[in-house]
Symmetry: D2
């Protein structure tokens, strides 16, 4: 009999669905020494249909009081999927009660918050993970492998954008409120590409950033009212990496035409790769050590058994979808619990990403380069 891991989940909306799905599916694809049990789903108090939702997603119980989950001795692990300003309190409470934690990104709304969270999980020796799920896209792991094996040579540039356009026509949502969200595209979208930069190229040493709010207020749905927007629509920034590479970044939620365009390019002295989340099964790969007349960026379909996680999915040529990255995260989280070994990316990665976000926001405010 496998050891059971009872999970509680704080958050029910978009992320609640994605995480529930991942938990339900992880055992189909991966052989684990532990067995996740979908114990308790926790939604906010205004959730009239919480019971239906819990049943639909496969949870045994539900509650609208997150402390009930945290205090439940049966619960071994919690997933924190609430707006950013709630992360700290929930994570620290969970850690103090010995719960393992997987937390959505950005880990907190400031460097100070995330450091407290990291301290709590370290002191309480629980397994912790930050849900930078794009590290787990097989095409991204292939990029990482090529970098690590030196096949791209010395890395000299990293260029990344994360462009969406939903804000152009959106009503007011909590993400437009600095108090709840910390910042706008910078933390929401930027945390992902900052994490990928760290994962793929290494630590950054300096940053200069610009940001702007193009849509200063937004209509409140179902009313004639408008509320102010206090978080950035777009951010641009330049960085330097510890290994000497240069970085170029853009995050935007007003990039008309782009739905979920997270794209990066890693340039090395021997080769380059280009990734685009909207075609997440592909990696464009250029390798210079080939006969020049047939060189070119290859469209590698990252669906081979040799590509990470893929051997657990489907045969060659059968593509995966966006939410599979959550399954891969849960696989790593549960394996971490099973082996009592912290998986990657964890709270330290959440702290490091926040350090850069904070530096970026400071750079915007003070209009100058900031050391990290």
């Amino acid at each position: 009999m496998k050891r059971k891991i009872n999970v509680g989940m704080l958050g029910t909306k978009f992320m609640g669905k994605a995480h529930s799905h991942a938990l339900k599916d992880v055992s189909i694809f991966f052989d684990l020494d532990v067995e996740p049990v979908m114990k308790t789903l926790c939604g906010s108090g205004d959730h009239s249909d919480l019971g239906d939702l819990a049943e639909k997603y496969g949870w045994e119980k539900w509650t609208s009081d997150w402390r009930e989950v945290i205090n439940d001795p049966e619960i071994d692990a919690v997933a924190i999927l609430t707006p950013g300003h709630l992360h700290k309190e929930m994570a620290i409470a969970a850690a103090e009660r010995g719960k393992h934690i997987i937390c959505e990104k950005p880990l907190g709304n400031s460097l100070a918050e995330t450091k407290e969270m990291l301290e709590a999980v370290q002191i309480n020796k629980v397994i912790h993970m930050t849900n930078f799920n794009y590290r787990k896209v097989p095409a991204v792991t292939l990029a990482k492998k090529l970098v690590d094996e030196g096949r791209l040579g010395e890395i000299i540039h990293f260029k990344a954008v994360y462009q969406q356009d939903w804000v152009v026509d959106s009503d007011w949502v909590w993400r437009f409120d600095k108090k709840q969200a910390g910042s706008g595209s910078m933390s929401d979208k930027g945390s992902h590409i900052i994490d990928l930069a760290r994962f793929l190229v290494g630590e950054m040493t300096e940053i200069v950033a610009d940001s702007k709010i193009f849509f200063g207020s937004k209509p409140v749905a179902g009313t004639l009212e408008r509320k102010p927007v206090t978080t950035d629509d777009t951010c641009t920034f330049l960085t330097r990496f510890a290994n000497g590479a240069m970085g170029l970044f853009m995050t935007s939620r007003v990039s008309t035409g782009h739905k979920n365009f997270l794209s990066f390019e890693i340039t090395g002295t021997k080769g380059s790769v280009i990734f685009n989340l909207e075609r997440l099964n592909e990696l464009a790969v250029f390798l210079k050590d080939e006969e020049r007349s047939v060189q070119g960026f290859r469209t590698v379909l990252a669906t081979e058994p040799s590509h990470e996680y893929v051997r657990n999915m489907w045969p060659t040529g059968h593509t995966i979808g966006w939410e599979h990255t959550f399954i891969f995260q849960y696989y790593e989280f549960l394996k971490g619990i099973s082996e009592n070994k912290n998986p990657s990316p964890n709270f330290l990665d959440g702290v490091k990403a926040q350090e850069i976000i904070d530096a970026a926001l400071k750079s915007v405010e003070e209009k100058r380069w900031i050391k990290i």
Copy 2:
């Protein structure tokens, strides 16, 4: 309380996993009046790990005797995922015991077989479905919608290919044996694009086909032996449709470089669309009724709530994977059972596709155009 639908599944390999996954996930995404229960998994006798597999996939019971499943009065519906030559016997037995049936494609290995199967499900009034899952790709349903709304005008061409390359380096498998598989790329790949042609353009009236075995024998894994290949590697065919359109087709399992390249183009007098399964979240759409200087094929990311099935998945820009098509099939299958109304595509579609496959094989043999 929802009515429970107890399902038995015959087949455990690639398709067994895909169907199990779909059954497990369907309730997360769709609201159904019935509740599927994963009752019994049936694998072949040489399956030492059948129990483990059943547990992993979420089945309550398992057996290596398919008749046990068919004869189990608890079972309401069966999924038939075995090699083609076994479909007929299983389906007829299941129908006779009043089980609803979802059967893998091609429905049978000959027109005669499929007609018997159709007769059985009709006489026994069970719900039936043929798993032409690509009808359910949201981008394909968008293509269908554009055709049906007349936005492409009169349809004049349909061009489709299904190209893979796994046979080039493959060991011998059952698919190379005409007795078990009926034919080669023609039935395995061809059945899919023939079904899409019927779905998107309509019935065909005539066909002329060519086929070839390029690799006449294949090594038997783990031995020094080679076994003959008696099924086609590649098929090409021309058709005419009842509505006057012309068809052009290719199926191949030796198309070096293509992993799962099912691509079609529908040309109408007012517009055209192009689809490619390796980028299944996209549909290229050309509409002629626009200012000429900005005309062009649009890359529509079919991840909008307005795209079929998508509103049940994730927000705009979050792509789905290949196996989600199975979830959509199970949604339709279960809804069919719930409403006692046959979903599409069903056994009649399986028969119609087989009629064309048989005509193609006859055309190859007699080297002439064949009326359908």
Copy 3:
């Protein structure tokens, strides 16, 4: 002093401009032992602005009587760019007067015509060329090189389409008249892809074809009249090649959305290439003899000095346009004259292509496979 080659040109419209441009430019890019002189331009009698056109394009003289050009003892070579039904008489007359000939495709309107033309140039020992200019696209020459070097292995499939859509909205033009044009998309577009098939894969042995006129009549510009269309809008055909490969073809002038989409794919047992005329500086290349995890179709930008003709153009990365293929043809034509050695593709290639076109038309008429 270089030997001067005095050229006369029969035809002034689209092709007249393209050929004039090529003649004017060829010396900038290529070092030749002969010097082309743009002597006489010949347009049809209704050409009020022939003088202006000749001056604009750089011709010394002009006339509306083609026999004057043919009979001019100063003229060394003629370019025949008139509608197809005029080629034969002009080419034979030119050959008999010892003029070297470059003739537009299709070479004639029937196999019989082209054979007479070939006989005339052979008897009179003049240099001859058929303007299948797409053989000279650098990306196509790269494809040919990969085939010849065996890097694609044994060639097993050739798939080619040539799709345009100008007929959908077009007024009546001479190309719709079978008497003037021979056939429709089959000769106009088909001759190009048939020539490429022969160039890249080899001779064909059998064909089965289908064709259709979708737009039965067309308005005569500036009138209320409509005239019948007697040439095909679309053709589809299957072939077998002498080396065992299978062929799949489509030609269409009613493919809504496609402006000049000539695309082919060569599949070999070791690799494949894909070409598309609308992106003529690129060749997609797949080579199987690579580490599987980074395999994929490469987008080779065929602008390297190692790519044929390119070293005479611009440095790496500077793309060429459609009309440069004509410059390359004239380079080969003039080199042929200089070295008294027939270039490729010549009238024999024009005959061979016509043989296949005639077989295709016969196959359509008799609705059966035709041996070539």
Copy 4:
């Protein structure tokens, strides 16, 4: 009789060929009131084959003394194509003798130089042009048209990169010497994208830039020696535009895999466009005012008669090459002379681009935002 414009050209290498070609071809495509005459070609003193080259390109005379050209009273216009540090002296001398001038980019090696040049052409009332040829790509003129017509709404982002990789494996060339070249990728590549930014979005107000030399020395061809590199390999910069838009830029000559990848994206509140020089016949266009279910970036093939300059080239679907942009520049230059009206882009544009380049270099040096 048309007025003759006698042209002298200073420079014979890559640019000499491109400009000669353009001058030779311009009359084939465009109807001008003046007739350009290719009078004198001027190459450097070490040019043993200057005569051959002049003949090949179609020049009447040649010299290795540029002052001879400038002082020749027959000469009406000069093209200056020499390394950047020579531009100023040549341009001022030419202007003082009343010659019209087309000068390669960057116009000079510093803002001070370019201002002197501008003053000289203004005082002497000669027609002047800076060869920012990419403004003339038909797809770019289409982008400009969409911006000007307001079809993209308010412009909020401009993102541009110009990436090549020839420096990675290159020997030492004059472009690596700050004295001759001013700066590296910043002026060589950056001047182009800065000019496009100004052309498409408007003036910039602020900049912060970073740059780096990755390859500090380079081998001198044919020797064992290495010489230092004093010009940047890569530049990244952020800008603000006067209209409130944000800018993000990268220039690199060490971007492994990119041959001539100048790409930009203009984002507006109603639409966006994306351009890539390696596919210069295409513009990706997104327009938000459409039914959402068929929205997507369209691949517009900018080969319609309605696209600027294209009606003078070939029919729909027949692509142009890189060097045609030079033909379009000469058309504008000669029309400017004919109408005594300064074309765009002219020396003022050269000055404005240099102002931004100088600000970028200063920003790198002082590591801070610089007002423009």
